[in-house]
C-alpha cells in the first residue's frame, strides 16, 4: 500500500492529446496536486502512462477537475498500442475543488495505461495527480 509519485518509480507520460508548455504532462505523475496538465479544447482527450516494467496495479487514484466521463485501457506490451478495455467511470462535478477518485482496475499487471477522457463538465479539463496502489 505505497502511494509514491510515479515519476520517482520510473514511469513516464508518453502521449498526451493536448499540450501547453506552462502545464506539461509530467505534472500528472509528479505526485503534486498543485501542478497539472490541462486539455486545450474538444473531446475526447487522452494520455498514456508507461511503466519501467510490468507492474501490478489494483487501484488508481486520480485528482482531476471537470472530468465527466473517463475510460481506462491497458496493455502488457512494449509499445503503446493494442490496448484492452479495463474500466470506465462517470465522475461527479465538484465546483471549486478537485475531483478525487479511487478507481479499481481489477488487478493484473500492465506496462501501459491509457486514460481517455470522453467528456468534461467544461471546455477544458485538468489532471493534477495520478497514483497507483498494488
Amino acid at each position: 500500500m505505497i502511494d509514491s509519485s510515479l515519476s520517482s518509480l520510473g514511469a513516464k507520460v508518453v502521449l498526451t492529446s493536448s499540450s501547453d508548455q506552462n502545464h506539461p504532462s509530467e505534472n500528472i505523475i509528479d505526485g503534486n496536486t498543485e501542478t497539472f496538465w490541462i486539455s486545450t479544447g474538444m473531446f475526447p482527450q487522452e494520455f498514456i502512462i508507461r511503466f519501467a516494467e510490468p507492474t501490478q496495479i489494483s487501484t488508481v487514484t486520480m485528482d482531476t477537475y471537470n472530468v465527466k466521463h473517463l475510460k481506462i485501457e491497458k496493455n502488457t506490451s512494449q509499445s503503446a498500442s493494442q490496448f484492452e478495455f479495463v474500466t470506465e467511470k462517470e465522475l461527479d462535478c465538484t465546483e471549486g475543488r478537485l475531483q478525487s477518485n479511487a478507481i479499481s482496475l481489477n488487478g493484473g499487471s500492465a506496462t501501459h495505461l491509457r486514460f481517455i477522457i470522453t467528456l468534461g463538465y467544461d471546455h477544458f479539463v485538468s489532471v493534477h495527480r495520478v497514483s497507483f496502489r498494488n
Binding site: S18, T40, G41, M42, L98, Q99, L119, S126
Partner: protein
Amino acid sequence: MVKLRAKCLLFGDAAVGKSSLSHVFYRDGNLFQKNYSMTTGVELLMKSVTIPESSDSVELYILDSAGKEALLESCEKMWGEPSLLCLVFDLTNEQSFANCSRWMERVQAHCQGLHVPGVLVGNKLDLSDRREVQESEAKEWAQSQGLEYHETSAKEMINCDAPFLTLARAFHALYQERCETIQNLGPG
C-alpha cells in the same frame, strides 16, 4: 505557447452565405464561389488563428452545416459539445433574421448548459439597397443572446475574418480564465 482547438458550429438559414463566408476566411479571401451549390451535409474546414500579442493560436474546426430543414437532422448528430457558435443570417432577408431565435434554441440543446462563446453575422452587406435588417436591431438581439455582432460581405470579401477572429479570441480568453481558476482550486 499553447495551441487550442475549438469546434465551431456554423449555422443559420439556407442560402444566407455560410459556406461562402467560411471559404473566404479559409482561403484568405482568394475565392468566392459565384454559383450557388447547396451544402447538403456537414463540411469541415480547419484553420489556425494566431492570437495577437501572444505566441498562442487557436485551431478552428469549422463545421458548416446544411441550412435546409430536411437535411438538418443528420447534421445535428455532429453538433455535440461545440466550443464556439457562428450564427449567420442574410441582411436582405428579414425572415432569415427572425429565424435566428429558433436556431439558437436548437443549438443550445447541444451545449449541455455550458457557456459557449458565439457571434451573430449579418452577411450580404454588399446588397445595401436591398437591406431589410437594420444594424441596431441585429446588434440588440445579438446582445440579448450574449453574441458579438459582425456584418460581412463574402462576395466582396469585406470583414469576413472578423467573426472568426472574435471567436478565436473569446476561446483563448476563456482558456486563460479557466487556467487561472484551476490554479487556485482547493484540494478535493
